[in-house]
């Protein structure tokens, strides 16, 4: 498909989508996403909104774990920091929504960088434990700092306004969350083709060689945590405003784990993988529920059983995906593209 095109200038090689077919595919995807609200009902819009939030969060975790190679089991809590910060800024301080969200991202970036400092000394399992500690410490703060967070009962996220209009409901949020996801995608994609992103990946692939090449390990690792938790903070802030309230349960260990699942299933260190992982992990449980209710006539009496089956099947699907495609869904996509570009000679 993409053969027969020659790259003759550096600017061309540096393009966001260097090949013509790549641009065509993106144009189709953009058109579908823009037209989606016309066909979708409110349930489907809600799912799309969740996917957008997850894309932003997963991109953040991918910067830390996929691009820089630093495992983090505290990512869910970084979302929480952003959610509480933005809710507080909007509902208590009265900061406008559009300012509060990036500000919440910055707060999360500061907190995330702080908890990222151990990565300079710790690797692998030890770093995993250190970030797990961050998860528990932050959860403890969410529950304990009652005057700000409302404790275990949580707090209202306040009514977001843009230029005087109140934002409410699935459709307005569809556009806001879509814009956020698109910006996050562009940002991380740009990092991967510039010096900042190369430094992150150099640290992942060979930290000692990276240091000899003049890359400071301390600065680069902390920077990775700052970028990653900024995106987490933005995702958390948007999520809080979307559902209208913020509670500690939303940002527990379960969220951190499921974000890790999205990164790994989608593909570590792949921007496209972040999208695929977020879609897969958000949609599959829903698809399983829908499928089950269609098969079982009187589903309401079997709710507990169904929930159990759903979790079990979902887990099994993740395992199967990882066995079939250990490098993630993005790698499978690359292979499909390769197959068609060589067709009919590919096997």
């Amino acid at each position: 498909m993409s053969s027969g095109e020659f790259i003759v200038r550096h600017e061309q090689a540096l393009r966001l989508f260097p090949t013509k077919w790549g641009r065509v595919r993106i144009a189709v995807a953009v058109a579908l996403v823009l037209a989606f609200p016309i066909f979708a009902n409110s349930y489907q819009l809600g799912l799309a909104n969740l996917i957008f939030i997850n894309i932003v969060a997963v991109l953040g975790l991918n910067v830390i774990t996929g691009f820089t190679g630093q495992i983090s089991i505290g990512h869910g809590a970084f979302l929480g920091v952003g959610a509480y910060a933005s809710a507080y800024l909007v509902s208590v301080v009265g900061v406008p929504f559009l300012l509060a969200v990036p500000a919440a991202g910055l707060v999360a970036a500061v907190v995330g960088s702080f908890f990222g400092i151990p990565s300079v000394r710790l690797k692998g399992l030890y770093l995993a434990i250190a970030t797990l500690a961050a998860q528990f410490i932050l959860e403890f703060v969410f529950k304990g700092w009652t005057s700000v967070t409302g404790g275990t009962s949580g707090m209202s996220a306040g009514a977001p306004h843009i230029f005087g209009y109140e934002i409410h409901g699935d459709l307005p949020f569809y556009w806001i969350l879509l814009a956020a996801a698109a910006l996050a995608l562009l940002f991380v994609r740009n990092l991967t083709r510039t010096a900042t992103g190369r430094a992150l990946m150099a640290v992942r692939d060979h930290d000692l060689a990276a240091e000899i090449m003049g890359i400071s390990l301390f600065r680069t690792k902390v920077l990775a945590f700052a970028i990653g938790s900024f995106l987490a903070g933005v995702a958390g802030a948007l999520w809080g405003h979307y559902v209208g309230y913020v509670t500690p349960e939303q940002f527990g260990l379960g969220l951190s784990i499921s974000l890790l699942v999205m990164v790994i299933v989608g593909g570590l260190g792949s921007v496209l993988g972040s999208v695929l992982g977020a879609i897969f992990v958000t949609l599959i449980p829903e698809a399983l529920t829908t499928g089950a209710t269609m098969l079982v006539p009187d589903a309401s009496r079997l709710t507990d059983m169904l929930a159990f089956l759903r979790e079990g099947l979902f887990g099994a699907l993740i395992i199967v995906t990882l066995i079939v495609e250990p490098a993630g869904l993005a790698a499978r996509w690359e292979r499909i593209k390769m197959y068609w570009s060589l067709y009919p000679f590919a096997r």
Binding site: H10, E11, A13, L14, L16, F187, V188, N190, L191, R193, T194, A195, T196, G197, R198, A199, M201, A202, R204, D205, H206, L208, A209, A210, E211, I212, M213, G214, I215, S216, L217, L223, I227, G269
Partner: protein, 267 residues
């Protein structure tokens, strides 16, 4: 006489009970090609690691272009213009060849996250500039067909060449080469020797090279330092070093080696 570019003064380094280096000094004039030889485990790589900052020496000083580097981190030493290759491959194995070489240029990027994330203005300009520069290195080392390959998938000799390209991208004043030809085929070795001569004589880069292939060393280098059990046992021109009885003794494994090389040089 001007001061040497690199001055290593009585370094000492030990691992547990093993003295990897004892009282090692080395002086490298601007523009020189200095070789370090010695049997396996003599401490050659350790010496290079001390110069590039990978190891901290127990004692001794390292001065470079008028600066004391002894206490600096590896990345700070890179900023002074010291670059190197590794004995065991140390490429960024999941990245493309061109990205590997671009990372070698990192110290001259001073990237800004925000500009890079937006790919805007200076960020874009710098990337294009960097590519032009890197293409010159690719042309020099004849790496064109490998440009977009993933570094970790390439053959050993090719990876060694890419390590050299990456080290060059830094535009170093001093280049440290740890066995640049080990494991290469004969043609690859000849090419590598050609590049090293070009870099030293034409591009004017000061080079410190470790190599086991005595023929290569004798042909390329006018100044040889011999290490054995962490100590400098001889120093001088190829002929002086070969004539040294202590050097001959430390290479007992191959007593004929020096004779055959000397014959070759005489012809």
């Amino acid at each position: 006489m001007t001061a040497p570019l690199l001055e290593v003064d009585s370094l000492a380094l030990s691992f547990g009970g093993i003295d990897a280096l004892t009282d090692v000094s080395l002086s490298v004039p601007q523009g020189a090609l200095v070789s370090i030889i010695g049997p396996n485990g003599a401490g050659k790589t350790s010496l290079l690691n001390c110069i590039s900052g990978r190891y901290r020496s127990k004692r001794g000083r390292i001065r470079f272009a008028g600066h004391d580097l002894t206490r600096l981190s590896p990345s700070a030493r890179a900023a002074h213009g010291i670059s190197r290759t590794f004995q065991n491959l140390a490429l960024f194995s999941h990245l493309s060849v061109i990205d590997n070489i671009l990372i070698g240029r990192h110290r001259r990027f001073s990237p800004n996250v925000l500009l890079d994330g937006l790919f805007w203005g200076p960020s874009r300009r710098r990337e294009v500039e960097a590519r032009e520069e890197v293409e010159a290195i690719i042309d020099l080392l004849e790496l064109q067909p490998l440009r977009h390959q993933i570094a970790g998938t390439l053959a050993y000799g090719q990876q060694k060449k890419i390590e050299l390209a990456r080290a060059l991208a830094m535009q170093p004043q001093l280049l440290l080469l740890d066995e640049p030809m080990a494991g290469m085929t004969l043609t690859e070795k000849e090419d590598m020797a050609k590049y090293i001569v070009y870099l030293n004589r034409t591009a004017g880069i000061t080079i410190v090279m470790i190599e086991h292939d005595m023929r290569v060393i004798m042909d390329l280098s006018e100044d040889i330092t011999v290490l054995s059990f962490g100590k400098v046992i001889a120093r001088g021109t190829p002929d002086e070093v070969m004539a040294d009885p202590q050097v001959q003794r430390s290479y007992l494994g191959d007593p004929q080696m020096f004779d055959s090389i000397a014959e070759g040089r005489a012809q």
